[in-house]
Amino acid sequence: MTAAWTIENLVVRQGDRLAVNGASLSAAAGELVGVLGPNGSGKTTLLRGGLGLLKAEAGTARLAGHALQGLSEAARARLAGYLPQERRIGWNLGSLEIAALGAPDLPPARARAVAADMLERVGLAGFEARGVLEMSGGERARVLLARLLATRAPLLVADEPAAGLDPDAQLLTLDLLRGEAARGAAVVVTLHDLTLAARFCDRLVVMSHGRIAADGPPATALASAVLSAVFGLEGGLVDTPSGPVAAVRRPGR
């Protein structure tokens, strides 16, 4: 079966530096893939390069088997939805209007119906008319998540969807993305929280200096050797009744 997203040996230059230096990534339908790595390791650049937002020097990216270059803007949007890390919203639109922007391909009434469904799915039923700039940061993040879900794309890519959220909202966000994978979408998220990554993701891709340092199920991708080599941390995953927990410390502490 064709993967929803295949990135092969991608190289992306940013200024003098190769931010992504020969990285490969794939995501299949029904799979929740976590991309981990220290700040500046190239996670966001890999996602952006793999979606065609940045020009790649080398390598290929395919959506559902189609080379990115050959896809029209509309075709690309049908195959992939993207939630950037930046949550700044320019104007104070209602949350339903924002969520409906995920479906510009639909007639307005239909787009609003889809948006209302997605707002309900993220727990914001009743907030449809609320201005997004009057909402808390956590609520706004959920509206943007609803916008991503409203794309109904077979590949959902979310950059740091849990950043800056309280613990409950972090769990809710990953539960929702987990649910989208269960519905058959391929979901790729970047994360910094090793415990969240280990608990929710089927597979983890660990980046270091623009390259892939590990790719596999959480137990192997977050093995002690990887944590030490990539993050410079000691420790590893510990199984608990509520799932694995990353028990890590800086060396010598």
Partner: protein, 328 residues
């Protein structure tokens, strides 16, 4: 206030302001005079109303609408309530075109100043389109626009500076101050043509402006043809602003003020501020021109001076609020 009711209210206010502006003037007229003007357009009273006052009022409204629409489009495009045709250097560049034409002695050639002003605006517009495709961040585009504006201003000053004739200097100065005095129907028609094309382009780009609310990256992957929509918005706004400068010189702050005034009623969706901003811009400029005519001063006030007097403090107020919300 809902969007539709707001539009009807704005249109009614505009109509009332336009009627008032046509009725008020140096020559006091009575009810029988208006009847005479309607039945016999060629009569002396008809001449005053149809060839002096009406085209001036229509021109003020048209230019206000063009500037209001251009401002709304640019604010949506740049996600910035401070954007205005002045910000992207379109007005300054257009003024430079007009100034050059005057300095070259082309003032006597019919239409030469207007065409030079339009060429200047389009040159800045094309430059902005090219730069906008290269630099996607709104801040960068604004800074580049400020540079274009400053450079065009410097070149205009150079034209002044090197101009051998004090008459030329006075003419360029008049242009820089902005006015719709002594405009006739052919002038209106010459403004209407480029402004209509600009308005169509801006209206076509509306869904792109709304999508840009979510930022450049989300818009780029939204499936909309963003490169084309963005180019249409910039080109349309340039044409609108250029047509306005070509017709009346540099009139500032209408493009800033109109979207600001309508947002409370129409909401902040850039697509939904377009039409109300055009109406509000027209209303503002009809009233400002009426003020310029009726405020008793030894020399008639220039329209651009009136708008700047009210507009500059408003600019400061909007900047103050925007800076506070950006910090938050």
């Amino acid at each position: 206030m809902s969007g539709r009711r707001g539009l009807v209210l704005l249109a009614a206010l505009l109509l009332a302001a336009a009627l008032l502006a046509v009725m008020i003037g140096e020559t006091p007229l009575g009810a029988s005079d208006y009847l005479a003007a309607l039945t016999r357009p060629g009569s002396p009273v008809g001449e005053i109303l149809w060839t002096i006052r009406a085209p001036r009022v229509v021109m003020a409204g048209l230019i206000g609408a063009a500037l209001g629409l251009a401002g709304a489009a640019l604010q949506g495009l740049l996600r910035n309530p401070l954007a205005d045709p002045g910000v992207l250097g379109v007005s300054a560049s257009s003024g430079l075109g007009a100034g050059l034409a005057i300095a070259l002695g082309l003032a006597a050639v019919p239409g030469a100043i207007e065409i030079a002003a339009l060429v200047g605006a389009l040159a800045a517009g094309v430059l902005v389109v090219v730069l906008a495709a290269r630099f996607r961040e709104p801040e960068t585009l604004i800074l580049l626009g400020v540079s274009i504006s400053a450079f065009a201003g410097a070149l205009s000053a150079l034209v002044f500076n090197l101009s051998p004739s004090p008459v030329t200097t006075a003419e360029v100065l008049t242009w820089m101050l902005g006015s719709v005095a002594n405009r006739d129907w052919p002038d209106v028609a010459m403004t209407l043509a480029p402004a209509s094309i600009g308005a169509l382009l801006v209206v076509w780009s509306a869904r792109g402006l709304t999508m840009l609310t979510l930022g450049e990256e989300t818009a780029a992957l939204s499936g909309l043809p963003m490169a084309r929509l963005r180019a249409a918005a910039v080109a349309g706004a340039s044409l609108l602003a250029g047509a306005a400068v070509a017709a009346a010189g540099i009139i500032g702050f209408v493009g800033l003020a109109a979207p600001h005034l309508v947002r409370r009623g129409a909401g902040e969706d850039p697509a939904r501020t377009l039409l109300p901003s055009a109406l509000a811009g027209a209303l503002l400029l009809v009233l400002a021109d009426l003020a310029a005519r009726v405020i008793p001063t030894e020399q008639e006030l220039k329209l651009g001076v009136v708008t700047a007097l009210f507009g500059a403090p408003l600019f400061a107020l909007v900047a103050w609020r925007a800076a506070r919300s950006w910090r938050a």
